[in-house]
């Protein structure tokens, strides 16, 4: 095993462990902090795939913005900070079963998909990965439509948030 593989195994296990801790902790703050670790593990995996851009975006967006919002929400809802005595309810067993079934069928389905086992073509090293990515996102032959649709959706969400938060007059 090469050192890189060792690192990969360590990071992958840490990520999975942290993710497991997120759903099993009975303290919301702990869960949120474990979520940060899990997200960070994913960022490290991106680095190991030489996807530096995705790695920093992962940190910037997920850790720097989304996780902090979650921690905010936890902090501001007082009373929920104490340990929750029991994190399962009576449907826990059924839900677990459904999750396991769903996950295994996904794995089976994907294993049959040829691209899953094939190695990706290495990116031409002569060109900057970021340039590649940028071009792909806005070129008509690339992903311009999903990109634009996503941005319109985000705009709609922004406006929606504004409407919800706006103080109502005359009340």
């Amino acid at each position: 095993m090469t050192p890189i593989q060792l690192v990969f195994l360590f990071v992958a296990f840490a990520t999975l462990w942290a993710a497991f801790m997120v759903v099993t902790r009975n303290n919301l703050v702990h869960a949120a902090l474990f979520l940060v670790i899990a997200l960070f593990g994913v960022a490290v995996l991106f680095v190991m795939l030489e996807a530096g851009f995705l790695a920093v975006i992962q940190v910037l967006v997920y850790i720097g913005a989304i996780a902090i919002l979650m921690i905010f929400a936890v902090m501001l809802t007082r009373g929920d900070v104490d340990d929750i005595p029991d994190i399962t309810n009576r449907y826990a067993g059924w839900v677990g079963l459904v999750a396991v079934l769903f996950f295994s069928s996904l794995v089976i389905l994907m294993a049959q998909w040829p691209s899953f086992t094939a190695l990706a073509k290495p990116i031409l090293s002569s060109r900057d990965t970021i340039v590649e990515l940028g071009t792909a996102l806005v070129s008509p032959n690339g992903y311009v439509i999903p990109f634009e649709v996503a941005s319109v959706m985000l705009l709609a969400a922004l406006i929606g948030a504004l409407v919800v938060a706006r103080p109502r007059k005359g009340k």
């Binding site: 530096g52 851009f53 920093v56 910037l60 902090i68 970021i130």
Partner: protein
């Protein structure tokens, strides 16, 4: 494998130098701030410890180490201890992508002065900046103190808001240099510094970075007049000094970044012939930028919190968006 080992040693040595420089820099920035503030405020400042008071930071550090560390009874202990650590780490690692000079020849190897040169350096800076808010939020929340809580909330809201303008101010040098690598941005300023092309972006960047490191007039989270000491009200001893360490190292880091993006980084006269001049020029620029920060602190009153948010969202953000837009249009139209 031989080269790998040499590379590893090079990295370790450079990281050590960088951390050491930041820690010394932190200590002497406090001293610099105290002396310069005193000079501005018709006082003398610390001048008793060592020649010209040069040992004052050491004395301060020693005192803080021996201080009793108190943890409030109702504090959330784990997070309370974690928070100062989370404050210092981003401040330490953010400098990793900032080059301190060109390449030099040493032991028959080309050694670049700078820890690493990655093609997403600017995004790296932004992401590290975005996680530095954790320390403050968690400190404010875990202290079980209303002042600390309000300080934590204020600062996180403030940092999130100003990060947008900061990010947009980052975009302008990227557009001008056509790269996100800091080395190439410095190269692009070989002729004229970007501050002359883009004074507005530089101004926006400087303001946003003051807000990002919570310096006056944006020192809302620790607004002494209202919130006693804000998020670190309950901290004492070394934990307290870690917060200060984080703040001052971030001051140095953002100054270095500002110098890199807008003031030509390590570049200066004769730097191509004598690459070792590079760190010196960078030091000089950082020194001046820190001086400006201290000057601002000595001069301006604090903005009120709601006005600060309004300023960030209603003035700074539209201004920087407009600036990016205009710059992009000019670059496209004139094909620069």
């Amino acid at each position: 494998m031989q080269i790998e080992t040499a590379l590893l040693i090079e990295w370790v040595v450079k990281s050590t130098i960088l951390i050491f420089a930041l820690l010394t820099g932190f200590a002497y920035t406090t001293f610099y701030e105290r002396r310069l503030l005193a000079l501005i405020q018709v006082r003398i400042g610390p001048n008793r410890t060592g020649p010209f008071g040069f040992l004052q930071p050491a004395a301060d550090g020693l005192k803080l180490i021996f201080k009793e560390e108190l943890i409030p009874a109702n504090a959330y202990k784990f997070v309370f201890i974690l928070a100062p650590i989370l404050t210092v780490i981003p401040a330490l690692i953010i400098m990793a992508v900032v080059p301190w000079g060109g390449a030099i020849e040493l032991f028959g190897r080309q050694i670049a002065l700078g820890l690493t040169d990655i093609n997403v350096a600017i995004l790296y800076l932004l992401s590290v900046a975005s996680i530095s808010v954790y320390g403050i939020v968690l400190a404010g929340w875990s202290s079980d103190n209303k002042y600390a809580m309000m300080g934590g909330l204020r600062s996180s809201a403030q940092m999130l808001s100003y990060e947008l303008s900061l990010g947009l101010a980052f975009v302008v040098p990227i557009l001008l240099a056509g790269s996100m690598s800091l080395n190439q941005i410095i190269e692009a300023q070989r002729g004229v510094w970007f501050i002359f092309y883009q004074p507005i972006a530089a101004l926006v960047f400087y303001i946003a970075m003051l807000a990002e490191v919570n310096r006056a007039p944006f020192d809302m989270p620790e607004a002494e007049q209202e919130l006693t000491a804000g998020y670190h009200t309950e901290y004492s001893g070394m934990k307290f000094s870690l917060f200060f360490m984080g703040e001052y190292m971030k001051m140095i880091a953002v100054s270095a970044i500002f110098a890199t993006l807008f003031l030509g980084g390590y570049r200066g006269p004769f730097v191509d012939t004598y690459p070792l001049l590079g760190p010196l020029y960078l030091f000089l620029k950082v020194f001046l930028s820190l001086g400006l920060m201290i000057w601002i602190r000595a001069t301006l009153p604090r903005l009120r919190y709601d006005r600060l948010m309004a300023f960030g969202w209603k003035i700074l953000l539209p201004l920087s968006i407009l600036n990016v837009f205009v710059t992009a249009v000019i670059i496209v139209v004139f094909g620069l």
